[in-house]
């Protein structure tokens, strides 16, 4: 139920209110209208979409960094795991 799927914002409606809340998003090749009124998204952003609403803008850089950080940390503490 709380499933959210990432999508790329490709177009945002113009104007205030209802029209400005509408956006077109690309879900890995499938295009669908979403509502962006809960986030400050711009074209090109990746957003997490839940039940037709973007609930947050994703941080691509953060995702790559985190994996690298964890790899490094686990390697460093290979003999001292109870102390990290």
């Amino acid at each position: 139920m709380c499933l959210a799927i990432p999508a790329k914002v490709v177009e945002i409606g113009k104007g205030e209110g209802k029209e400005g809340a509408k956006a077109k998003a690309d879900f890995g090749g499938i295009s669908r209208e979403i509502d962006v009124s809960l986030v400050d998204a711009k074209v090109g952003d990746y957003v997490m979409v839940h039940a037709g609403f973007a609930i947050e803008i994703m941080d691509e850089h953060e995702a790559k960094e985190t994996i690298e950080l964890w790899k490094e940390m686990l390697e460093k503490c290979s003999d001292t795991e109870t102390r990290i």
Binding site: C2, L38, Y46, H50, G52, F53, I55, D59, A63, W70
Partner: protein, 356 residues
């Protein structure tokens, strides 16, 4: 970014956990976590590494009470168009589900989003009721349409809040839990702060986690580290989506329209401040106010289906295969309890993947 996976790192984490041999029992409160754990066999791998993860009340469809479903059924029978999410459609109330009522000829619709329901209301003169379920992830969307709703539209709210249920579980004390894996998309909205009282009041370590296998493994490792160090706090593993302060805009939208009140959950007694109802200034769009007279004919208490152990499953006390109905009387095609209907229900997940 989307496939947050790395086999080497996963193996390393599992080996470290095995080496630590902590014998932990953790709990998550999100059906999507349960899906990740079972689908990728992580539950079994983690068990070998000394970590058991029990599913808690993390499926909004499953915790919706029979009374709430009976309210939706009654409104459909009284000629309203009742719309809801697909997961809710087939969950039985005391006996029948909304799907059964549709089969009787009443107007029940399945929608993907509340915006679809608004469009539906704009095209008809009939009264349209949105049977609105979901935790903090979903509620802001429900709240956001309030300014655009047509007059024939109202909301039957079964929205609930997760942190009060987590505390209720601890207070009930039926089972010892060493830490919580917190739901990533609820946390996207609420951030870290609303969980902090659980750590400070109940000495409970918590880690907010995403839904890729690696997210869950890292979260388990972070919990293990807190426990080893004797720390109790809320940490965030899902930093690529969850900000420490959450999504303020979404939260404001939700708080503008909804207010907490004491309500019961399936399998639980009344949990203080755990439900969300429309504020007084929006009561015109509250189906419970608009149809108060019709709804007052309903009983207050509804019995759970005989033999169904969904309540205990939602409290993490038993696994689905310990229920006598599981896979025999209760199947996804003929569900007896809610856990078998929703793809996020523990019973449905277990039957689908054939593992605990």
């Amino acid at each position: 970014m989307f496939r947050y996976r790395n086999e080497d790192l996963a193996k390393q984490i599992l080996e470290k956990l095995k080496h630590l041999n902590l014998n932990l029992r953790l709990m998550h409160v999100c059906g999507t976590h349960q899906d990740t754990l079972v689908r990728f066999g992580l539950n079994l791998m983690l068990k070998e590494a000394g970590v058991e993860i029990r599913p808690g009340p993390g499926c909004p469809v499953c915790v919706t009470t029979a009374k709430e479903i009976e309210e939706a059924i009654l409104l459909a029978r009284k000629g309203k168009v009742v719309a809801t999410f697909g997961d809710m459609f087939r969950v039985p109330g005391e006996k029948l589900s909304l799907a059964d009522v549709k089969a009787e000829g009443f107007d029940v619709r399945v929608v993907y989003s509340i915006t679809d329901c608004i469009s539906l209301a704009e095209k008809t003169n009939k009264d349209v009721v949105f049977f609105s379920i979901g935790f903090e992830t979903t509620t802001p969307a429900t709240a956001s349409v309030i300014s655009t709703r047509p007059n024939n539209f109202s909301i039957l709210s079964a929205h609930r809040l997760i942190p009060p249920a987590m505390e209720a579980l601890i207070r009930m004390g039926e089972m010892k839990i060493d830490g919580f894996i917190n739901p990533g998309h609820v946390s996207t909205i609420i951030g870290e702060k609303p969980y902090e009282f659980i750590s400070s009041r109940h000495k409970m370590p918590q880690v907010i986690a995403g839904f890729e296998p690696l997210d869950v493994l890292i979260a388990v490792y972070m919990l293990a580290m807190q426990i080893i160090r004797g720390e109790v706090r809320v940490e965030n593993e899902y930093t690529r989506v969850v900000r420490p302060e959450g999504n303020e805009k979404a939260r404001q939208t939700m708080n503008e329209v909804f207010e907490p009140f004491d309500t019961s959950w399936r399998g639980f007694p009344v949990i203080p401040s755990s439900g969300l109802r429309l504020k007084k200034k929006f009561e015109e769009y509250d189906a419970r106010k608009r149809y108060e007279d019709e709804l007052s004919t309903l009983d207050n208490e509804y019995k759970e289906p005989a033999g169904c152990r969904c309540g205990e499953i939602l409290r993490g006390l038993v696994y689905p295969d310990e229920c006598p109905l599981f896979g025999k009387v209760c199947t996804p095609r003929h569900p007896v309890g809610p856990g078998m209907v929703s793809r996020e229900g523990s019973c449905n997940i277990m039957l689908r993947y054939g593992e605990r």
